[in-house]
Symmetry: C2
Subunit: 157 residues, 2 copies
Amino acid sequence: MSETLEPIIENEGLLKSDFVIEMVRQMRAIDPYGAYDSLSTTEILEPFVLTKEKKREIPIIGDPDELVIARVKVFYNAISAMIEAECGLMAVPLVNLTHEGFGRAIITVGKLVVMDRTLRDVHRFGFPSLSKMKDEADKILSVALELIGTHSKVAGL
Amino acid sequence: MSETLEPIIENEGLLKSDFVIEMVRQMRAIDPYGAYDSLSTTEILEPFVLTKEKKREIPIIGDPDELVIARVKVFYNAISAMIEAECGLMAVPLVNLTHEGFGRAIITVGKLVVMDRTLRDVHRFGFPSLSKMKDEADKILSVALELIGTHSKVAGL
C-alpha cells in the first residue's frame, strides 16, 4: 500500500492541475455505466502509470486491447482540449493504429498540424508517474501553442 | 460486354494520365500474389467505378470490408503521390475509419493539412466513372497545391 499512497501525497498540486482534471473528465466520458463514479482521481488515472517494474511484466510484443487504445485516445483528447482552451481554436485529435499497436497520432488546428507522433508498442502505453505524464503533455502543449502563434493564419483556416 | 467496352473507348486519353497510372501502381502494390498481373488498366480500376445501378444494389447501411478500405487508401495514396510529384515535398495520407465505415481522411505536407475529408458510407465507396474519379482527384490536387503555394513555409516544416 505504501507504494500507491506515496504518489498521492507528492502529487497534491498535480491532481488539481487543468491537465489532470481534463484527463479525469475524458476518462469519465468513456465510462457510460459509471464504473468510475466512486473512484478518486488517482484511482481513475492509475492505469496510465506504468512503473519500470510493471512495464517489465508486459511482454515486449503484443497486441493492444481496446482499453489501452481508449487510454491513448483519452491522453491525446485531453491535450487537444488543453490546446483548445489556450488558443480558442478547435483542436482535432486523430489516432490511427494497426491492430499490432503501431501508428500515428496527430492533432490539427485549422490546417495546421500542431502535433505529429509515431506510436509504437501501444500495448505498453504508460508513463513512469502522473507527473511525468503531465510533463509530456505540457511539452506537447507548449510546442503546439508556439506553432499556432507563429502560423496563426494557417491555424485559423 | 458493350457496357464494359464503352468506357475503354471514351477514356483512351484518361488511361494514360498520371493519376490513372499512379492508381494502377498503387493497386498493384497491394497485390502481393500477382492476381492483377494479367489485367488491363480498366479491369484493375473497375472496382472504383460504381454506377447508379450498381450503387443501388448495395444496402444503404453496411460495414465496409477490407477490400473497400484498401481501395479508399489506394485513392488517397495516389493523390498523395501526385501532390508529392508536383511540389517535391513528402505528402502523407492518413485514413481513419470506424468499422462502420465512418471516419476521416487527411493528407499532410510538412505541418500543413492539404486535404481534410469526412468519410461516410465507405462500403459504397466509388465513382460514377473513371473520368469522374480523376476529376475528383484533380480537384483535391489543385486545392492542395494552392494551399502549399500560399503556405509554403508551413508545408516545408
